[in-house]
């Protein structure tokens, strides 16, 4: 049974891609060829829908009431998983705005209210094409691939042209930017995920291409039906182990070593941090 009943009609671009996929398919027994797929995402805070201007109670170990001010993520290497263990990569549609060369931006903030550095447009879906199949799971990587992360930001095309996601001084992008304020931390408590420990590899005149901590967690979610379910990124789950009244070092957790606010956040991303091994990601779930 095909789980992709929500197929949209082929756009011109998708048609070109689909034909290209078919022409290169090595499997002559495949009767269907690639189909369009639309993978829905949602943002939440402790299960409640995320929205700019809303406040959310009881977040973190400190039970803090927070006001989110940003919620954006990059994902790539999107792969669908079948129950029998086979996996098929999703060829992301290059739409010139949200997706390019296998990279997709998810943008849940709409620039309203306290989301002052955001954009009015939002995006909660990853679109592409994939071989038809009976898919029951998904795997993707959070972040910007290394080959794109260190390219010149002054000439980068969408979705890598948003200054709010530049991490220029650190030679890359913020892979995830999920920020909030609270009465206890009115200047902000920020989650900025990105590669750290970056330095040039040999030729000092080229941008950095090597980072000690790549910080690109691979997320695997199984046992769901894309017809009726969606992938939820829950900020409350991400901060569940963090004391939001504390702000030593960087504001919140900005991925650098030695930050007391980072262990709980990095663990929830599924990332090892400062010698402690993650117990597994808890940021994304199926709903």
């Amino acid at each position: 049974m095909n789980t992709f009943a929500r197929l949209t009609r082929f756009s011109a671009t998708a048609a070109v891609l689909a034909l290209a996929v078919a022409a290169c398919d090595d499997d002559p027994t495949d009767p269907v060829g690639p189909i369009d797929v639309s993978i829905p995402f949602a943002a939440a805070v402790n299960g409640a829908p995320f929205a700019c201007g809303q406040t959310y109670a009881a977040v973190g170990t400190s039970n803090t009431t927070i006001t989110p001010v940003d919620f954006r993520l990059y994902v790539h290497d999107v792969t669908l998983l079948q129950a029998d263990g086979t996996e098929r990569p999703v060829t992301l549609t290059d739409d010139g705005v949200w997706q390019r060369d296998g990279l997709a931006l998810l943008d849940f903030e709409d620039g309203s209210g306290p989301c002052v550095n955001g954009t009015s447009a939002t995006r909660a879906v990853v679109e592409g094409s994939v071989e038809a199949g009976n898919y029951t799971g998904i795997r993707f990587t959070l972040g910007v691939p290394e080959t794109m992360n260190h390219a010149d930001q002054t000439t980068a095309a969408a979705p890598l042209d948003l200054t709010g996601l530049f991490w220029s001084w650190n030679a890359g992008y913020k892979f995830a930017r999920i920020d909030h304020t609270s009465a206890e931390q009115p200047e902000g408590w920020f989650v900025h995920l990105g590669s750290t420990g970056c330095e040039p590899t040999g030729d000092p005149t080229t941008p950095a291409t090597s980072c000690a901590n790549t910080h690109r967690p691979t997320i695997t979610l199984t046992g769901f039906d894309l017809d009726s379910e969606e992938i939820v990124a829950d900020y409350g789950a991400l901060l569940a182990g963090a004391d939001l009244t504390q702000n030593e070092g960087a504001k919140g957790c900005m991925s650098f070593p030695g930050d007391p606010q980072c262990p709980a956040v990095m663990n929830a991303f599924g990332l090892d941090y400062e010698g402690s091994v993650s117990t597994g990601q808890s940021f994304f779930s199926i709903r």
């Binding site: 290209a20 010139g96 296998g102 620039g111 969408a158 030679a171 000092p204 005149t205």
Partner: protein, 416 residues
């Protein structure tokens, strides 16, 4: 292969059309930059007049960027324009004032929203010859890219434009002066207003900030009267193995980190000078660990770039964190082979920092010798550089009939 097919299809057929289409459909996403490297402009590329001091090679210009008088003029206007900050309170020139050799006189920079930067505003003297930028960022090699950090950085906030690139470009579009300057500087662009063109113009202007007409330069060119006897004594000491200054502050740039057109390869150096030693094991204050902040390597703790000493008398206070007030105290630090902080959170014996450069070994100076070294450092001041109208604020003084924004531009010259 599919990806390659679709990419090359887009590359060959659709880039310009796609970009144009995006402007119409997704202005909110900031997708109005043209793609790809800058095409060489016809005509004056090879003939750009650097007006270099005698004996100075041209700065190396990154591949894909070109110098033209029009870009420099645009960059100069942008450099002094307060619309380049989120709240329109600061321009580049707020922290980089020509009269102070493009520094601000503060210990650490103060951003447009009152964020304190952990570091001292760097001089832009000869910045076009710097193969790596900032105090200790090994990844920052291009002035155009570097400008993104003060413009859009958030930790700390400097000019405070993160996420506001569309608004910024709209502000610039609305300025009649830019209606001429942008298309003239970037005649091959369908839309010359973009983050890319903005950063390239700023870089072009900054590359022209060449200083090479100090008394020391005139002395080298044969004017024996340019240096006093005391300064000549200081010069001999500066270049001696007794003081060791020249190892890190030598050469044409008076810095060991230097590059220029035609140079076989860039020279890049970072040094720990024993300014701190918080734990007896070499630690620097956590906000300012130097190269270690990027490499995470223990031995890179406290290693910073040796800044140019040209115009050094104008750029107090000193060091990466502005923690040394005067040149005389700088000499105290080096004479002691590292600074001892006696109390407070940063207490420690810097001279015992295990990562300290071997050249910081300490020395003693007679009062006459100390005066000589200070006189030599003063003789690195290029008074023409800090008064050159090519580098000054091009905007007319604020007046009742200036632009409706009221005070969009810097008016730092003339003591106002």
């Amino acid at each position: 292969m599919n990806r390659g097919l679709s990419r090359s299809f887009v590359d060959r057929v659709g880039v310009a059309a796609l970009a144009v289409a995006l402007i119409g459909s997704s202005g909110a996403c900031g997708g109005d930059e043209m793609l790809g490297p800058e095409a060489p402009a016809s005509g004056d590329v090879a003939t750009f007049d650097w007006r270099l001091p005698e004996g100075f090679p041209a700065p190396r210009v990154p591949e894909g960027q070109t110098m033209t008088a029009a870009k420099v003029e645009l960059g100069r206007h942008l450099f002094y324009d307060r619309r380049l900050s989120g709240n329109e309170s600061q321009s580049c020139a707020s922290c980089h004032r020509q009269s102070l050799a493009f520094t601000d006189g503060l210990a650490v920079a103060l951003g447009s929203t009152d964020d304190m930067h952990p570091r001292n505003s760097m001089s832009l003297t000869n910045v076009g010859y710097q193969p790596v930028l900032n105090w200790a960022n090994p990844n920052e090699t291009d002035l155009a890219h570097q400008s993104l950090t003060p413009l859009f950085g958030e930790d700390p906030v400097e000019l405070g434009l993160s996420g506001q690139e569309d608004e910024l470009l709209e502000r610039l579009r609305a300025e009649s002066v830019y209606q001429d300057l942008f298309p003239t500087a970037f005649p091959d662009r369908a839309d010359p207003f973009s983050v890319e063109t903005l950063t390239r113009a700023l870089a072009a202007f900054q590359r022209t900030l060449v200083s090479g007409d100090a008394p020391v330069d005139r002395f080298r060119r044969g004017d024996r009267t340019a240096l006093s006897e005391s300064a000549r004594l200081g010069q001999a000491l500066f270049f001696s193995e007794r003081l060791e200054c020249f190892h890190c502050h030598g050469g044409l740039g008076f810095t060991g980190t230097f590059d220029h057109e035609g140079k076989s390869s860039a020279e890049i150096e970072f040094h720990n000078t024993g300014l701190y030693n918080l734990d007896g094991e070499g630690a620097y204050p956590s906000q300012n660990t130097g190269l270690q902040q990027f490499t995470f390597r223990e031995e890179d703790m406290g290693r910073f770039k040796a800044p140019t000493l040209r115009n050094i008398a104008l750029t107090a206070p000193y060091m990466h964190d502005g923690s040394v007030a005067t040149l005389d105290e700088v000499l105290d630090h080096y004479a002691a082979g590292g600074r001892t902080v006696t109390e407070g959170p940063f207490a420690g014996v810097g001279s015992e920092n295990p990562f300290k450069s071997g050249f910081v070994k300490g020395f003693t100076l007679t009062p006459e010798e100390r005066r000589g070294v200070l006189d030599f450092l003063e003789a690195l001041t290029d008074s023409a550089f800090i008064t050159d109208p090519r580098f000054s604020n091009p905007w007319p003084p604020r007046s009742a009939n200036s632009s409706p924004a009221g005070s969009p531009v810097e008016n730092l010259e003339g003591g106002s």
